[in-house]
Symmetry: C2
Subunit: 452 residues, 2 copies
């Protein structure tokens, strides 16, 4: 049987969300949402370009090349093209491989831009889309992903990697909007997308983590393309008896899909990462970088680093001896060590070599962290003992969070640091300039070409 | 952090399963497993060929053609080729679209052959594989899918479509075996495959249901190809703290992965469907076909059809008025009506036209079914009142179950009925003959070509 149930119209929340997406226009967006989209596009492109050279992408791209030789869409930073689905997969994975991409700061730990923008950029090369079209589709995808997460409050605790699962919905919604699907077909895009949702936290610290983002992009794109041609699905992929918010979460809150829809835009609560690692670690990194800067602490003289952090930090990152760059991105002791040793936590601090560097491993072993339930997740306290002296600091709002956002110039500097080594200064500057007036651009397909 | 935990060797069940797969040889298989593989291949090819003309496949194939034009692997029954992943997706979906393909009968409701054989056939066109290689890979994929289901006892009740979720593991394992991956890479194939596992029961009765089978095939194939090149994953995708048996099931039984491994082969418990609909409905269909045959009941004179069935039947199929062929496959009243009216429940009984046929809808409204907890799931009781007379029958073991299997000739007849309209009598006979000595064939890539 079809498991859709009889529901009053106002409880058919998937349909209502689809209607919102199908009807969304650029003029509906507040200026803050447009600004957030510009910031999001620039930051994500930089992360993808920096990620394009990672060994993980070499493997993925070589397999994709073997499986498909059709040059349909640009692979960022790698001077090649791939099929539409393959390009979305590759670009989505490279956007997330460094764990440097943006994170929603409103309670749903979703890196929406990797799945959404990878799908949209690939699609933009076959459909004529303007910058305003891209912004609307991006905002709609973001909205769908975050709201479906809000409808599934225990989803993250259940063991899922939200960038894979919610990212698939987000990419489906965004691609549906860019293709101009009507309400019914947008419902189907969400239904076809959602039924492919996957990504297990078990794979944290492996190549699969960023693969989740790539698959979310390509699966979402496929869902929208199928829906466009009349492929169908349940009408209640979120709220149904066997719907997403019931089987992927022990608690269901389907009305979250529609509460304040059209008045609140979740993309305005996007956060950008100053550090290339798990976002929960950022307050502690801020603390140690500041301590080092303020007191000129010499790493070799440090006898202990003691941290008080939000409990989630230890739940996710209590690994003392990471052996690879990818694993070190989720190690509180590694992050503390590089922050204090280098005064930085960029891509250079999370390589395989750095994970095995004796200077860093020595500091890691001097680091301890305890959970403090009174702290918010953007807050941390650090105590360093060096040369017999004790230094303390408290960080109230980590850099890059909603309470302490990276400003436009900081995002631009981060983009340039990421992009210049891959596409050179001239083209990187051009991309900055182009994205700065994104809403006025008439042809988005120029963007992937600039970043090829 | 990487979420893999410290475990004694005998609890590293994913690794032990992978070792079994990597080391499996044709000579390890008992004759019953080889026979089950031959039966499985023939039956599945027929189902796929019959499904190849379904409207769902027209949509899927047209989108795939647009997304990729590389002719790498044969699309069954459609006189075309597609990329490797696309062919696996299309062939996997056509194998399951009619709900006519085989079903494991040992407690895990998995249609393993659609994901497994679609992946293996596509792969066989680029790797030189013998019939014996195919059989071993098929048996290993079957084993992995069923055992991971046994390790996750509440997975089905949780709302998942097992042919999508477990099917992804099954296809990953099978493809890993055909590619000859070592133990470590087979672990990774399972880890990359499992992290893509998806398929929601919410989509039952829609085009997405069989899409799950296709995606399982292509995702599993991709997982094995990535693992072959060194793409990594968790080493504990099943048993880990955030592993499959914990996050996709409210009860975890990881040791089921290894209990009796190598002595029991789950493929020997495969069941084949005489009817083109949900397997839980088969006992009731058997009952009504037999009643009609025995007493020459005239459909127009029937005043009531009363059924007593296993409770699962009503949980899944209590839909009275299906409006499409796909939905009618999960309607107990539709199945009862066509069984009594036509004395059959083949593909012709589950078309869109048949779902709306007034003669059938009239009988559907005269049908009632009650759950009886004392019945097994291959058992049913039927009472028909016609022309004032009452007829009763009890079916102990439905046709096609382990207790009452379809014999080789019945499977051959089913294959011919499915295949002849698509590839003609000559070629269909040739396929029967070829598969009858599958273990002696030197080149499996001949098979998809015969079924092109």
């Amino acid at each position: 049987m079809n498991t859709d149930k009889q529901l009053p119209e106002d409880e058919q929340v998937t349909r209502l969300l689809a209607r919102h997406i199908a009807n969304a226009r650029f003029s509906d967006l507040p200026p803050a949402a447009v600004a957030a989209a510009r910031r999001g596009v620039l930051d994500w492109l930089g992360c993808a370009l920096a990620g394009s050279r990672h060994a993980t992408l070499d493997i993925l791209a070589s397999v994709m090349q073997e499986l498909n030789g059709q040059p349909q869409a640009t692979v960022l930073g790698r001077d090649s093209k791939a099929g539409l689905l393959e390009a979305a997969l590759i670009n989505g994975q490279m956007g997330h491989v460094l764990d440097y991409d943006d994170t929603h700061m409103g309670g749903v730990v979703l890196h929406a831009s990797s799945p959404v923008l990878a799908a949209l950029l690939a699609l933009s090369e076959t459909t004529k889309a303007s910058g305003a079209d891209l912004i609307v589709a991006y905002a709609c995808g973001f909205e769908a992903g975050v709201r479906i997460g809000q409808a599934s409050p225990e989803h993250h605790r259940g063991g899922w990697h939200l960038t894979g699962t919610l990212g698939t919905f987000a990419a489906s919604a965004a691609a549906a909007r860019l293709l101009g699907l009507d309400e019914q077909r947008t419902v189907h895009a969400l239904g076809i997308g959602g039924t492919q949702a996957g990504g297990m936290q078990q794979n944290r610290g492996t190549m699969c983590k960023s693969f989740h983002a790539g698959k979310a992009a390509s699966n979402g794109l496929l869902a929208a393309k199928l829906a466009q041609k009349g492929f169908d699905s349940s009408m209640q992929i979120v709220e149904g008896n066997r719907g997403f918010c019931r089987i992927y979460s022990s608690v269901a809150a389907p009305q979250a899909l529609v509460d304040g829809l059209g008045t609140r835009w979740e993309i305005t609560r996007n956060g950008h990462k100053p550090y290339a690692c798990g976002v929960v670690l950022h307050p502690a990194i801020d603390a140690l970088i500041q301590l080092r800067k303020t007191y000129a602490i010499e790493p070799a003289k440090v006898s202990s680093i003691s941290l008080r952090v939000h409990p989630l930090v230890l739940a996710i990152t209590a690994v003392v001896e990471p052996r690879t760059g990818l694993k070190s991105k989720f190690s509180i002791s590694h992050c503390a060590a590089v922050a204090l040793h280098d005064g930085a936590a960029g891509t250079a601090q999370y390589t395989d070599a750095r994970a095995l560097d004796p200077a860093i491993t020595a500091l890691r072993l001097k680091t301890s962290a305890v959970a403090d339930e009174t702290l918010r997740n953007d807050e941390a306290h650090a105590t360093v003992v060096a040369d017999g002296k004790t230094y303390e600091i408290h960080v109230d709002h980590a850099t890059g969070t909603v309470g302490n956002p990276m400003d436009d110039d900081a995002i631009r500097q981060k983009f340039l640091a990421n992009a210049v080594p891959v596409i050179g200064k001239d083209r990187a500057d051009k991309v900055c300039e182009w994205v700065a007036s994104l809403e006025k651009q008439s042809d988005v397909s120029q963007l992937p070409v600039l970043c090829a």
